[in-house]
């Protein structure tokens, strides 16, 4: 269950350190519930953990906001983040794979994952239809998957 919690954290917090915090908090919450006998049926575990993830992300967001407000009020700079944990994939290989995509495929992929632009924005930039953007994106993901040898 821990990888799923980290995944949830990465998706909702976009931060490799915050998802460590999330994983720990959710784990503690879950153990607490198990100990207290509030979680007897194991089939309820997944939905309990998902619920705990949702609550904790809201809580972490609130705390991050509060931190920002305090830093702003006292005119302080945020602390530099600690070095990221080890990369999950081979960046050099990925760079090669991305560079080997067609021009359109590469633009769509970067605009989707980096710019986080909507299908309509991407379509507008490339001058193609939204349906076409989805087709190009699908093809790009498949090519990347084959090139990286991962099972997406």
């Amino acid at each position: 269950m821990a990888p799923r919690v980290r995944l949830y954290g990465l998706r909702h917090l976009r931060d490799e350190h915050a998802d460590d915090d999330l994983a720990q908090q959710v784990l503690l919450t879950t153990i607490e519930a198990l100990r207290a006998g509030r979680l007897r049926e194991t089939e309820k575990l997944a939905s309990f953990v998902l619920g705990a993830c949702r609550m904790t992300v809201l809580d972490l967001r609130r705390r991050a906001q509060r931190k920002q407000q305090l830093l702003a009020r006292f005119g302080l700079d945020p602390l530099a983040p600690v070095q990221a944990s080890e990369p999950m994939i081979d960046q050099d290989r990925l760079a090669n794979c991305v560079q080997n995509l067609g021009e359109r495929e590469r633009a769509v992929i970067v605009m989707t994952f980096y710019d986080e632009q909507t299908g309509a924005d991407v379509a507008g930039f490339l001058g193609v239809s939204e349906v076409n953007v989805r087709v190009i994106r699908h093809r790009a993901i498949r090519q990347l998957r084959d090139c990286m040898g991962v099972a997406v």
Binding site: M1, P3, R4, L7, Y8, L10, R11, A46, S47, V49, L50, P87, M88, I89, Q91, L94, A95, V98, Q99, G102, E103, R104, R106, A107, I109, V110, M111, T112, F113, Y114, D115, E116, Q117, T118, G119, D121, G124, F125, L126, G127, V128, R134, R137, H138, I141, L144, R145, M148, V150, A151, V152
Partner: protein, 145 residues
């Protein structure tokens, strides 16, 4: 355990890039939390997406970029050197090691064009890099790469 109803990859991409409504996200999350196979696929997709964000952030991709991309790069503190290419003209580019991104911008009336090829040549005029078939919007009037 084999998943009987795997989530479509396209849907996973939409989920990861934040393109779904809250209700749609809920459906995906409930499935993923209960499914070994789909959560595994989402882990791979997330790693791929994070890798691409890192590459884009470090300015190590040679590609056509959007104005959103440039705005983000500026916000992220990347140092950008930009050259504008006049129609039919040429421009000498200098790159120092302090530059993170080298941007070339074509300012031209593209409304009559159907295809753009970018070819980067060295001093001797030998082609070093070719980006065939550049995506562009006929009305935008500029291509940044």
């Amino acid at each position: 355990m084999k998943c009987m109803d795997p989530i479509d990859t396209t849907l996973l991409v939409d989920y990861w890039s934040g393109a779904l409504t809250e209700q749609q996200e809920d459906v995906i999350e409930v499935h993923v939390f209960g499914c070994e196979e789909c959560s595994g696929r989402l882990v791979e997709l997330g790693a791929l997406a994070e890798g691409i964000r890192k590459l884009a952030r470090s300015g190590s991709l040679r590609m056509v970029v959007s104005d959103v991309f440039l705005r983000r790069a500026v916000e992220a503190g990347l140092r950008i050197r930009e050259y504008s290419l006049p129609a039919g003209g040429s421009v000498q580019c200098t790159v120092t090691e302090d530059d993170d991104l080298l941007i070339g911008r074509l300012n031209e009336d593209l409304s009559a064009e159907t295809r753009i090829v970018v070819s980067l040549c060295d001093d001797a005029g030998v082609e070093r890099l070719r980006l065939p078939d550049i995506p562009f919007h006929a009305t935008s009037g500029s291509v940044a790469f």
